[in-house]
Symmetry: C2
C-alpha cells in the first residue's frame, strides 16, 4: 500500500513526466498557441465560445499541438506560423471530439459532462463545424499549401476511420485488421499530421519530415491501444475516467477482439449476449475484465502498444540528439507505462 495511488502521485514520485518536460521545452510557443486558440474560438455568437471552452479548457494535455511545435522547433524553424498550425491541430481535434460526443452519446469526456449532454446534439455539431473552419483559416494564414494538404487529408481520413468504427459496435466479427485500420485513421492520422506538418514547416529534408510523421503515427497507434486497454483497467478509475465505456457501447476494441478469439467454448454465449445483443447487467463488466485478463488479451494489447511505441522511438533517428528528442522518446515510453 506504500506505492503511488494516483497517476499524479506516481509522476510526482518519479519526477516530472516527459509530457511536462516537453511542455517546458516549448513553453513559450505553447503559451502563444494557447492565446491564439482562445482568440480564435471567439465569435459574435456567444454559444460558440461557451461550448468550445467546455472542451478546450477541460484540462486536455494538448499533446497533438505539442507535437507540431516540437517538430517545428526540432527542425530549426524560426518563423511564427508553427503556432497557427498547432492551434489548427487542436481545433481539428476538438471538432472531432464534439462530433464524436454527438454520435456516441458518451456521458463523460475528460471526466466532465459531455458538451452534447449539456447543450444537445445540434450545437455540438455546429460548434465542431465552426472550429473545423477556424482550423482551416489558421492554416491558410501560414501560407503553406503543403501543410494544408496534409491536414485536409488527415481530416478526411479521420472521418473515414470514424465511419469504419460504426461497424465495431455489437459486432463480434470485427477483425484485428479492421480494428487497426480504424485506429490508424481515427487517432493516428492526426498525430502523424501534427508532427509531419510541424516538421515540414521547418523546411528540412524529406527524411526528417517522414521520420517525424512515422513517430506521430506510431505514437498515435500506441496511444489508442493503451486507451482501449485502460477502458478495462482499474488504473483508469485513478485517472478520473470511467471504466467500461467501450464495453457498455459493445464496441469491439482489441482487448475484446483478442479475448473473444481466445475464449473457451463455454464463454462464447457470454460474449454473444453482452456484445451482439448488447443485453448487459451490472456485473458483466467484471466478468469481461476477468476474461480479458485470463486469456492474456490485456497483456497482448499492451505488448502491441509497446511495439508501436518502440517503432515511434526508432523513427526519431532522423533527429540529432537534443532535449526535445529525448522528451519525445520518453513520451512514447510514458504513453505505454501510464497503463501500469
Amino acid at each position: 500500500m506504500g506505492g503511488p495511488t494516483t497517476l499524479q502521485e506516481h509522476i510526482h514520485q518519479a519526477g516530472v513526466s516527459p509530457v511536462e518536460r516537453l511542455h517546458a521545452l516549448i513553453a513559450a510557443d505553447m503559451a502563444t498557441t494557447d492565446r491564439l486558440i482562445h482568440a480564435r474560438m471567439t465569435s459574435g455568437v456567444a454559444l460558440i465560445p461557451d461550448l468550445a471552452r467546455h472542451l478546450i479548457d477541460s484540462g486536455g494535455k494538448r499533446l497533438r499541438p505539442m507535437l507540431t511545435l516540437a517538430a517545428a522547433q526540432a527542425g530549426g524553424y524560426t518563423g511564427g506560423h508553427h503556432v497557427r498550425l498547432a492551434a489548427a491541430v487542436e481545433f481539428i481535434h476538438t471538432a472531432t471530439l464534439l462530433h464524436d460526443d454527438v454520435v456516441d452519446e458518451s456521458a463523460l469526456r475528460r471526466g466532465k459532462v459531455s458538451a452534447n449532454l449539456m447543450w444537445g446534439n445540434k450545437p455540438s455539431v455546429l460548434v465542431g463545424d465552426f472550429l473545423f473552419s477556424r482550423a482551416f483559416q489558421l492554416m491558410v494564414e501560414t501560407g503553406n499549401l503543403a501543410v494544408l494538404d496534409i491536414l485536409a487529408g488527415a481530416a478526411a481520413v479521420i472521418a473515414e476511420g470514424e465511419v469504419m468504427q460504426l461497424k465495431s459496435a455489437n459486432n463480434l466479427g470485427v477483425t484485428e485488421e479492421h480494428y487497426l485500420k480504424v485506429v490508424s485513421s481515427k487517432t493516428a492520422a492526426l498525430f502523424a499530421a501534427a508532427a509531419e506538418s510541424g516538421a515540414l514547416l521547418s523546411g528540412r529534408s524529406d527524411e526528417f519530415v517522414c521520420g517525424l510523421r512515422a513517430y506521430g503515427e506510431n505514437l498515435g497507434i500506441a496511444f489508442q491501444l493503451v486507451d482501449d486497454a485502460l477502458d478495462y483497467s482499474g488504473r483508469q478509475a485513478l485517472m478520473g475516467k470511467t471504466v467500461g465505456d467501450d464495453f457498455r457501447e459493445a464496441k469491439m476494441t482489441l482487448p475484446l477482439i483478442l479475448a473473444h478469439a481466445r475464449a473457451a467454448e463455454g464463454d462464447l454465449p457470454f460474449w454473444k449476449r453482452v456484445i451482439e445483443t448488447g443485453n448487459q447487467t451490472e456485473r458483466d463488466l467484471d466478468r469481461a475484465i476477468t476474461l480479458i485478463e485470463q486469456t492474456g488479451a490485456m497483456q497482448e494489447t499492451m505488448a502491441r502498444a509497446r511495439a508501436y511505441a518502440d517503432v515511434a522511438k526508432a523513427a526519431l533517428k532522423v533527429m540529432p540528439d537534443s532535449d526535445i528528442k529525448r522528451a519525445l522518446a520518453d513520451i512514447a515510453d510514458f504513453c505505454v507505462e501510464r497503463a501500469y
Copy 2:
C-alpha cells in the same frame, strides 16, 4: 384550370428557365465538375459514397457551383481549377445539408427521406465531415490561398449562422434583424463565396470580384426569403416539397415574424400557443397561412426578396454584356418569380 399545374410545366410553357440557360452556357464545365464530384466522394469505406450519393444525386440544381463556374468563365478564366472550386463548393453545401438534417430531424430534404432518418445521426455527421475535408483538399489543389481563405471564412460564418438560428425556434421575440443575420450567414455566405472565389480565380479587378460577391450574397438572401415564404405557400406542394416544415418546427422566419408583429390582439394567443409552446394541431397550419396572407406578411416577405434580387442584378454592372450576365440577371428574377 388551364394554367400550368407543376413548376416543370410552367417552365416548359414559358420556355427554358434561366437556370437551365446558364447550365447550357457552362455545360462542359458542369459535366467536368460532376465527374469530379463523383470521383472525389468515393472512399474505401462504402457507406460514405452510399450516403453522400443520397444527397448529391437527389436532383439538386447545383446552383452554387454554377455560380463559381459562371463567375470564372465571365472573368475570362482559362485554367482548370474552377471545376475543383465548384466541386468544393458543392461538397461544403452537401456537408451543411447533412449536418442540418442531423440537427433539425427534418423528415424531408429535396422530397427524399433525409439521410439522417435512413442512416442515423452518426453517419450523417461523419460523412458531412468527410465531404467538408474533401472540399478543402480540392481547394488546396487549386494552389490558390485567396480562394481557400474565402471559403474557409464562409464555412465559419455558415456555422455561426446555424448556431444563431437555434434561437429562432419557439421564440416569438426573434427580430427581423436577427433573422436577416441568420439568412446572410447560413445561406448567403456560401452563394457569395461561390461567386467571389470563381471571380477571383480569373484574376480580374477587385471591382469585378466584389461585384460578383455582391451578386451572390444578395441572390442568396432573396433565395432564402423566397424559400421561407414558400414554406407557407401552396406553390411549394407543386414543387414536391412539404408545406409547413418551418411552422411545425416553430421556427421564426420572416413571414411569421411579420405576421406576429402585425397580429390583431385576438390572434396573439394563437401565435403564443403554436410557436412558444409548440402545441399544434392539424388545422393550425391553415390558420397560420391565413393570418400570414391577411396581415400582408407574405406580400412583404416577397417584396423584400424582390428588392434583394434587384440589388443582385444591379451588382452585375461590373460585367460586360454577355449571355452569362443575362442568365445571371434572369436567375435573380426567376428566384423570386418561382414563388408565384
